[in-house]
Amino acid sequence: MLHLATGENLDLPRMTASVSGRGIAHSFDGLTVFDGFDLEVAAGETVALVGPSGCGKSTLLELIAGLSEPDRGRIEVGDQSGAAERLSLCALMPQTDCLLPWYSAIDNAALALTNRGSRRSEARAEAAPLFERFGLAGFEQSRPRELSGGMRQRVAFLRTLLSGKDVLLLDEPFASLDAITRAELQEWLMPSLTDGSHTVVLVTHDVEEALFLADRVAVLSDRPGRLLEIVDSPPAEGASRSQQVTATAFTALRERILSLLREQGSGPLVDAPGAPR
């Protein structure tokens, strides 16, 4: 297993933005997804959202990202509350990898740079060290369909990282992966998330993943989504992932969150990735 300290070579802004939502109410397709929802994420913090499927977690990320405005309530990223301003501060990593099949892996990863007007060669040069670091060396020129699911997800993660945005919104980034690949990526991701260079909101079905990756875990209720409880993750005990997730404090918290979710009716672990949100 590799432990990689990302952040040192990454030319990312050191000042990052907080995320705050107050009194968010939103309907989608005639369904009331939120009716007065509050969330505070401090700058540089990682918060995971867990909740029954269909409780509007993905919708919340889109609202924060500024892809749409809530019907009511106020969302601020940094001190900006307009959708366009939020969009300029947030990067969203969707559930599916959303790689463009007509571009090579490295051009996909560097998409944010060329979108901003960088020359393709410069963008590739900037992305190349990250390919090395994320175990993608040698696959720079591969098309997405030639990559495994785990590799595609890593490229998608690099693309999000290279956007240079302060706030990363990750929507079940590992849901489509097998357990081993998922655990590997969690360990790869860990350092680049928790170094405080980004504010991260992570949506996941996996309580273990939430507790492992995030500083705090927000447990959401069934629709319309309310914040049931916000739980501080236990301090990391032991070096490896398997040591951490088997520590007593960790498993106790996991069981508590799971029982909270079970009271909501539908367990978070029973539904498949891509189920209706």
């Binding site: 889109e62 990202a65 892809l67 969009l87 947030c90 990067a91 969203l92 969707p94 599916t96 959303c98 463009l100 099949p101 007509w102 571009y103 998409l111 944010a112 979108n115 901003r116 098309r143 369909r145 693309r159 999000t160 956007s163 945005k165 919104l169």
Partner: protein
């Protein structure tokens, strides 16, 4: 025509049609050269030429046929290219504007319902005997499959991809060139392949309405003068042009759509 590289059936792709065509031509040769066909139809033998006779005429009159084929080829290629430009432009315009799509789509469909054989003589009255009316007829015939297919492609863009682009500094034009256009390209090629195959028919109609050269013109004359063998020779050349152009578009498609 899709790429089947590396499959053992590759040789079969051209062997099978070749065998079938050879068989049919052989059958025709037999029926014509024995006088069976003419007998059955109650016609003079020269009106029912055999493939060998057609080939002979094709060789004898090669200069005349080539000269007229060149005229028709130019008409087809230019008319087709006009349709590509106008068709792609129309598809993008209709895609961009909901209002334009609602207003313009029926018009696009209507363009295909125009009976070409009726409109062609009118175009000749309007634009004269030159290349203009032929280009108009060909472009009109080719426009529809290109515009409709490309529009379908543009409309089928994955919303997740455009949303992803918006969160990573993707401007409207970058989203178009990087997401929408590549998504629509395979559709546009499908349309172009249909268009290039029917372009030949457009050229013949255009020439029939009024022309003093071209394969369509030559066919009309040969028909009137009962030069049936040369008429068939022209049909053969026309088909060859259509098949070649189709193959060129298919090749281009495989070259450009590398990611598929």
């Amino acid at each position: 025509m899709s790429g089947r590289k590396g499959r053992p059936g590759r040789a079969l792709d051209w062997l099978a049609p070749l065998a079938l065509v050879s068989f049919l031509v052989g059958l025709w040769q037999l029926a014509a050269s024995t006088g069976f066909l003419a007998d059955r139809l109650g016609l003079e033998e020269f009106l029912v030429p055999s493939p060998a006779q057609i080939a002979e005429v094709l060789w004898q009159d090669r200069a005349l046929i080539a000269e007229n084929a060149w005229v028709t080829l130019v008409e087809i290629v230019v008319g087709f290219l006009i349709a590509v430009v106008v068709g792609l432009g129309a598809a993008v315009a209709l895609h961009r504007s909901e209002l334009l799509r609602r207003a313009g789509y029926p018009l696009v469909v209507a363009s295909q319902t125009i009976p070409i054989i009726v409109i062609a003589p009118v175009l000749v009255v309007w634009f004269g005997y030159g290349i203009g009316p032929k280009l108009a007829v060909i472009a009109l015939i080719c426009f529809f499959p290109i515009a409709v297919n490309t529009l379908d492609g543009l409309q089928s863009v994955d919303r997740d991809l455009t949303r992803m682009m918006r969160t990573i500094h993707g401007s409207r034009s970058r989203i178009f060139w990087r997401v929408e256009a590549p998504t629509a390209l395979p559709y546009a090629f499908s349309g172009a392949k249909i268009a290039v195959a029917v372009a030949v028919i457009g050229a013949v109609f255009g020439e029939w309405a009024g022309a003093d050269r071209g394969l369509g013109f030559l066919m009309l004359q040969d028909n009137a003068q009962l030069e049936t063998a040369r008429l068939f020779a022209s049909v053969f050349v026309l088909s060859t042009i259509a098949i070649s152009l189709f193959a060129i578009v298919s090749l281009l498609e495989r070259r450009i759509l590398r990611w598929r």
